[in-house]
Point group: D2
Chain length 387, copies 4
């Protein structure tokens, strides 16, 4: 088994992930800030292919142009030296107090305008650095109380914002697509577009829906108790999986951002199986936070673990799919039948077919076992390397 | 305060709600079966305007044509006598063992065909009885284990099914729309289209999306920890709130189906406020289960409570909106600003406006309080009748 | 209805509640620090009777003795001026990085010793300022991964710590009791003593169990989906409700610390009903965080709301209990029968009684309705002021 | 790796587990009833050592004495033939409508008396069949609404019931201990003694606490989002792990009762690690429900999977503990330090030690990494057989 990542694996990390200093709601930072240049070098050594950023990860909020240019130049040099790419970038619209009521849907119009300008500015930089995907996480687009946010009005504003951003990208001729990242809650009591489903639905109402897809995060869907592979499968089915955030979460609770493989291991297995069998060819992006208990050695161990776990699960999923016993079990569970249309004969054919209703014997059909337990045990055996 | 319902309130109940006999995963029935005729009369006496049904609520599964006709005839007479209408009907695709792996997405093709025919048959009856909405709850379209359901294939089958149903309705010239009802889990480990968002997104991929909307159920969204008024607001915003199921749920746990007003009372208040201010004019449909502890007196008390609570909340929400102090508080919280476009000046105007970025002072804007706590306390005062 | 609090209501607030500056996992502070003296004066004006503190709320971590004495002196003067009392104090064992793996159960022994000394020091101050209850919230006594914490060893250390603290209090002759505060998770993935039940059970293993009780926090229990009044009723039943933290939480998610009355309103009603009918005479302590969206006006509005809501609910609960219709409904639901022993006749009498088994007719007994829906509707009517 | 179970593994199953017919809240039975004799034989063939039962699993509710004796005799013969033992028995106090408001805490006193007599009767049979543990799951001891259950009174009744049962066991000279099984909710909205912690605390108030321990069920704790190994570790620490129910659950939702190994796999690994390293020598009892999709072949495959997964995890946990690299990692994470007392020098020594406070340097201690991520990755590698 190959557990050592190579660039062809397309593993990428956000600057803010390994760079998280460990400040949480109840405690101060436990680690020093990382220089983005240091991060790029370390990620390259570990076998990653890409690095991503929020504007403020690279250039401190409010920095003047000289500081900005210096930061960008140093970062670009590190990219050139290491060969790392920037497949994605995003905007920080949540740390500064000005965004305390959201950004594109803040009640204050001047905040909304500032948020748009901040985003447009970073889109320029993202494009300049080669990003093809721009992620939008509206983490503070929400509310803690009922009257504080008029949701239909807020959705109007959100649509307006995305339509403007898309217009900009088209007018500039940028080769950039947007990936909306859903989250149900935290840091707001409830966040708009709380799940992959809500984001997909919203995209259908935009002026240029083709420019928009989703960026599902494993833990965010699990915070709503949802099945992550199911949600991502629907995104794939709708042609909208533009990017994704891999991490770990132990059920319905605060946002944990554990390394990939921690948390719900079986969901991680099925997710890797889905991505690999569906031919998803985008980045495998890790959006995690090395626990606050770790020093920098622990940070890099955690980052390495994300990639190692993906590779182990990928190998196990491939072995599962290749196993003749599994193929038999899939047939026993009638998966091939699910792949067949229900009515190739059309509505008329279906209505005219007595075996579909008049002579159908539900008791007989209902007595058939589905053989799912045997299939699932084979899957578990493969996951555990015990087959 | 008027707490006595009248038909103009458009309250409706499913036969299966008051008719629930109290069979749960750990216990046998505690109540006798109700005759649908008795139910219609009792609901009319209580002030309801409508009654809804699954095919099998009215006509036992597998009944012959004579029994079927008798059942329909008696039901129709009860409707005629009482003046109750049938605004909605739906199909039972979950009780019989034949549906143990789902209906439209069962791995077994013959089960899928039977499910479609069963649904088509009941659409005829629904239309005959005057229903304008046909609800589809795919409660067993899901899985307990990862390989048991190929989700993209299952979504293909689900789309195929709904496209066929819509074709039938159009070909028959029926004035009937479909409302898809999402649920995250139970009775399956995970159910496809788990939330309002996923259902809305799915609808966008159908052949005749205009014929499809959603039927959100309060408790179903709350089982995923989601904010119900937010989800329903998005459905309204997308023009897709075709019907809804009102009930109560105490957080993330098994499906409780408590009477409306039980469970999360503040969410119920905001939901009524939303429906009434948005001008939703469809049925206020209760899909609840009177607890298993109750005898039939308790059943009817529970049904009456659903309507009473809606009326109380409606009055309280109206008083909240009409209160000048609330209007001041909404202004203080800048809700009117949220209703304004962010950039009537367009992208060019926004980019050219230095006050949007270059001279904008985030510290000043960030120091403004949003005044949400005062607003929310006013709302709570109104809810409690303590203002 | 009296909604204006007076000291006799025994409302108290932590310095850290109104003093929270709004730093959250995704954002910087939105409010300036409050001087404890300012807080004491404002709380007194609002009608509170008490103020509570962590050592570091009053005296910055690491402050020298002069700074310490000055801080204490100014605080004491404010207490004297306003008449506010200090019914409770506690230790901050979570903010500084040294506590990143916990305090009394940190793997590092020197950290554990430091944590004990820090606590002992603040116990002296607490006693000096008149506190009779010392709260212990072990927010970082936990883990994110399985091998990182040997739970039986950690419980040994936790017991050792509490036994030492109790020994100190006894040796010093302090009139002080400890109240352990449970929480299921956040900021650690899982926290030891996650619920009221676990803390109560743990107390039974201490050397001086009589000195220990619990300090349940509304939101903490709700983060585990538990019924708060039930848990607090068990604490009362076990004679262990030494203190409590009132606030609001919207279900199973991150720790929200909303003002009391926000979140699950019906649970708040039943909690007030329980406290008032059980004769709980300790402080009604609010441990909440005014949302980050608020400026200081919003902070004080939020604090005032906590007290107002308690008073409204108290009046509504009293009216509910006094209503003759409610008393009839309680009888109909056989609550008086629950208050009777099951077998005053003892085991022998029970075994000899044929009506208890041999001639008992379960079908007849099983057919009795419990009349709970009617009772609950009366409660809701009273809560809503609609009876 | 040995995956084939033998009696020495002490695997046991309830009659009601493999015998579950698949009736759920939304569907009818999908499988025929199993004869207990058939079950005993099949379990023996699969390698189990024990079988457990509710009274009504063996003898239908209300059966006359002849039917009872026949059933017991046939069951006993099957045990004799196969060598299977009955390590535990329990009472069905939830299926019949008479228990709709609970059993030992039903508001109706005659129901409580009947429940006690039903339990006493089955204790006789349990003892006769050799059981040494009697499980008490009070699944309906709870409520859906606030006033319906006076919790302190209900706890009085619960205590009264257990005290009577213990008196009986002592008077009869039975060698039998009770294990209370907690569950947070379902089938009641909230259940008394919702977690392991609450049950442990309650036991401390009984007349004969030594006769009582807990029977934690994996899925029940996970329904409250709790860490199962942590809760069971506390039960072990308090000397109260008398029995346990192994199964699988996918997070906070309805009670799934999946086979052991399904659901949260990492929690299952840590649980097996805990049981094996703590020297727990009781039965490894599976309380699961083969999914309703399965026929009887699937039922037995599911039962076999429970045991297979335990054995795989046991081997993996042993390899983890034996690995020198793990031992190094445990040292690096200072687990051995956690096993040392914090203050062997006693309170006086601690107070006199300047290194504990006066000269302690929190910044230095706070900068140490805990090395938990490396340790957890080693654990995951062992779990996956990828080390």
């Amino acid at each position: 088994m190959r557990c050592q990542p190579v660039p062809e694996d397309k593993f990428s990390f956000g600057l803010w992930t390994v760079g998280w200093q460990g400040r949480d709601p109840f405690g101060d930072a436990t680690r020093r800030a990382l220089d983005p240049v240091e991060t790029v070098h370390r990620l390259a050594e570990l076998g990653a292919y890409g690095v991503t950023f929020h504007d403020d990860d690279l250039i401190p909020f409010g920095a003047d142009d000289i500081r900005r240019e210096t930061a960008v130049k140093r970062f670009r040099q590190a990219l050139d030296t290491t060969g790392l790419v920037v497949p994605m970038a995003t905007t920080n619209l949540f740390t500064h107090p000005v965004f305390k009521d959201g950004a594109f849907t803040a009640n204050d119009r001047d905040v909304r305008r500032f948020a748009l300008r901040k985003t447009l500015r970073n889109i320029d930089l993202a494009t300049e650095l080669g990003a093809r995907t721009y992620v939008a996480w509206g983490g503070r687009e929400g509310a803690e109380s009922g009257a504080a946010k008029d949701v239909p009005a807020a959705l109007d504003r959100l649509k307006e914002a995305f339509d403007l951003l898309a217009q900009y990208v088209v007018e500039q001729g940028y080769d950039l697509r947007f990936a909306i990242e859903p989250k149900p809650n935290e840091p707001r009591g409830d966040i708009l577009l709380p799940t992959v489903g809500h984001a997909l639905a919203f995209i259908g109402r935009l002026e240029r829906p083709g420019l928009f897809g989703v960026n599902p995060e494993v833990g965010h869907e699990q915070m709503a108790g949802l099945n992550v592979p199911h949600g991502i499968a629907q995104a794939l089915w709708q042609g909208k999986l533009f990017h994704l955030d891999l991490n770990g979460q132990s059920g319905v609770k605060y946002d944990q951002d554990l390394r990939f493989g921690a948390g719900d291991l079986r969901a991680a297995f099925w997710l890797v199986d889905l991505l690999e069998t569906a031919g998803y060819d985008g980045p495998r992006h890790f959006d995690f936070k090395p626990p606050r208990t770790e020093d920098l050695d622990g940070v890099w161990a955690s980052a390495a673990g994300c990639m190692r776990n993906y590779l182990i699960l990928k190998e196990r999923a491939a072995a599962f799919r290749a196993d003749p016993a599994v193929q038999d079990a899939l047939r026993a569970a009638r998966l091939p039948e699910l792949a067949r249309p229900t009515a190739e004969d059309g509505l008329a054919g279906l209505l005219a077919d007595p075996t579909a209703y008049e002579t159908f014997r539900p008791e007989v059909a209902g007595a058939r076992g589905m053989a799912f337990e045997q299939l699932d045990q084979l899957a578990l055996d493969h996951l555990l390397g015990a087959s």
